[in-house]
């Protein structure tokens, strides 16, 4: 969300001046306090009826909240001062300060805004971890259903002589509740292991990067077909400028720049004009393409994951990790679940590849926690940098491409069973388990 206005700051200023608690104003405006908090920290755009409602609740004209750019600086400075024990006399001289030292005032205001942004990020992270409303609602629903089942089952088990109509009614209730429990369990697992749908939930630079890449479908047309990459730097700058809305944090912008530079390099090494004809002959099989195009497997996998939808070549997912096993890129593939939080399943070929650098792994897999979809994966670990000079040990990154197995010749060997991550994986006696599963052991 761009910080294109400071309407939120003005709302906060007016509210504080009026001595109204945030929760009270939220109630009057018929929104949640957490949403008002985001508005007040300029993390959400506001307009229309909600703006009018808040202005009414504050007893001010809506325009007084949306206009007055010259007051934005003063509002921010007052807010910065309100967090200190500055005396009233000095507090009242804020306009004089801004007028006499505009540069210092702007710097102070900018720092205040950065603090607010950081606080918002911390609040969002904390909220997500401890008060996720979807998670809370899903768990409440599940526990209520389990309670109903337990109470009803207890009656059926403990009551020796139960009238037929009661028995029938309780059987029906258990049947209904067990179906509801199955649905809510599936919904919960789906929620936990699918990426978030809205930017409201974005709280880490990596998630910002992924939202940005998703918006472009992981394909950047302006970086394709540049002779020797000429003009690539300008194109990257334009893309980053266009993506400002998604890439709010400096970390996300740096990560996006790094991704785009690697993309440009890949596009120069394996241009679409070479890749497309090969796709006609070999399909999306990375190994076959690597051999036919005399290009390393990693570059081929990244280029497949960056194909435009118009290429008609079928979807290819890609995950990459650094030498610590931390996922640094997650291009999703329908049906292949990627962990939303925390580390992935250690059984993934991606991590096996780290233990045998430069040796490609071809592995058919099935995620047991999902609907049983079978996928063909290719994984390889390659050096990406050195710790020091040319004689020092290299650092490795591993990459794994995932392809739907539809249309690929039937495999002789049974697929490798693996999960998404331990918390939501029901596999029992798994050698790779790091922590108990909430599906089998509860919270």
């Amino acid at each position: 969300m761009p910080r294109d206005t400071l309407t939120g700051s003005r709302i906060r200023e007016r509210r504080v001046m009026a001595g109204i608690k945030q929760s009270e104003l939220a109630k009057r405006a018929d929104i949640s306090p957490s949403y008002l908090n985001l508005i007040e920290h300029n993390r959400r755009r506001i307009g229309g009826k909600l703006l009018i409602n808040i202005a009414d609740a504050l007893g001010v004209e809506p325009t007084s909240l949306t206009e007055g750019a010259e007051t934005a600086l003063l509002a921010t400075l007052r807010e910065a001062a309100s967090n200190t024990d500055m005396g009233e006399g000095e507090f009242a001289r804020v306009e004089e300060f801004a007028g006499r030292f505009p540069g210092w005032a702007a710097l102070l205001a900018e720092n205040q805004r950065r603090i607010e942004t950081l606080q918002s990020s911390v609040e969002a992270l904390t909220d997500r971890l401890t008060h996720d409303p979807h998670l809370a609602a899903a768990l409440h629903d599940m526990l209520s259903t389990v309670t109903a089942i337990r109470a009803t089952a207890g009656i059926l088990a403990d009551t020796r002589e139960l009238e037929p109509e009661w028995r029938e009614r309780f059987h029906r209730n258990i049947n209904e509740d067990s179906a509801r429990l199955a649905n809510s369990s599936q919904a919960l697992v789906g929620y936990l292991d699918e990426p978030g749908e809205t930017d409201a939930a974005l709280s880490s630079p990596q998630e910002e990067l992924e939202a940005f890449l998703n918006e472009y479908g992981y394909h950047f047309d302006s970086l394709e077909n540049l002779p020797e990459g000429e003009g690539g730097a300008d194109s990257i700058a334009e893309i980053l400028d266009e993506g400002r809305e998604r890439l709010q944090s400096a970390s996300a912008q740096a990560m996006a720049r790094s991704h785009l530079e690697r993309y440009l390099n890949d596009a120069c090494r394996l241009p679409l004009r070479q890749l497309k004809p090969a796709l006609q002959r070999h399909g999306t099989d990375p190994a076959a393409l690597s051999q036919a195009l005399d290009t390393d497997l990693t570059t081929v996998m990244r280029r497949l994951a960056a194909l435009p939808a118009t290429a008609g070549a079928g979807e290819v997912g890609l995950v990459s990790c650094d030498a610590s096993g931390t996922l640094i890129l997650r291009k999703p593939l329908a049906g292949f679940a990627l962990p939303r939080f925390g580390a992935a399943c250690p059984l993934w070929p991606l991590f096996q590849a780290l233990s045998r650098p430069l040796s490609p792994i071809r592995q058919v897999v099935r995620q047991s926690a999902r609907d049983g979809g079978v996928f063909l994966t290719y994984a390889i670990a390659q050096p990406c940098a050195r710790r020091g000079n040319q004689l020092s040990d290299p650092l490795y990154e591993a990459h794994m491409a995932m392809l739907p197995l539809d249309g690929v010749a039937a495999e002789e060997r049974p697929p490798l069973e693996l999960g998404v991550n331990c918390r939501i994986c029901p596999r029992e006696n798994c050698a790779g388990r790091r922590e108990p599963s909430i599906l089998t052991d509860g919270f």
């Binding site: 768990l139 409440h140 526990l143 209520s144 259903t145 389990v146 309670t147 109903a148 089942i149 337990r150 109470a151 009803t152 207890g154 009656i155 403990d158 009551t159 009661w166 009614r169 309780f170 209730n173 209904e176 509740d177």
Partner: protein
């Protein structure tokens, strides 16, 4: 005529199961399924004990408990709170607001009966 309990809970199958258990145990049972007019239901039924769910449509069980404790007529009314959140802070909040007992879902029928019998001895 047995003791009179009002069950304020929005999950119909929990209501049905609890009602059955309590009626078999000799209680007179009334039920109410939402929070916003739960206080009216308490005044209307004048129960000996209330079983109160925390998460109710319309109004939280904590808010209802607060109002019950503020009114002279219900200040000492035994209230058994039911919640799906069993963390210590939830229990502490319920106790601070004046809950007589606090029970975390899922619970067994025997636990409910024991709690009620201890709160309203026959």
């Amino acid at each position: 005529m047995g003791k009179h309990v009002l069950v304020i809970e929005d999950e119909p199958n929990i209501i049905e199961a609890i009602s059955f258990i309590l009626m078999r145990d000799g209680w007179t049972v009334d039920t109410h399924a939402n929070g916003h007019d739960a206080l009216d239901a308490v005044r209307e039924h004048a129960p000996d004990l209330v079983i109160l769910d925390v998460m109710l449509p319309g109004r939280s069980g904590y808010d209802i408990l607060t109002d019950l404790r503020a009114a002279p007529a219900t200040r000492d009314l035994p209230v058994l709170m039911l919640t799906a959140r069993g963390q210590a802070k939830d229990r502490e909040l319920a106790e601070r607001l004046g809950a007589s007992r606090f029970m975390t879902k899922p619970f067994s029928n025997a636990e409910v009966l024991d709690a009620l019998r201890s709160l309203v001895p026959s």
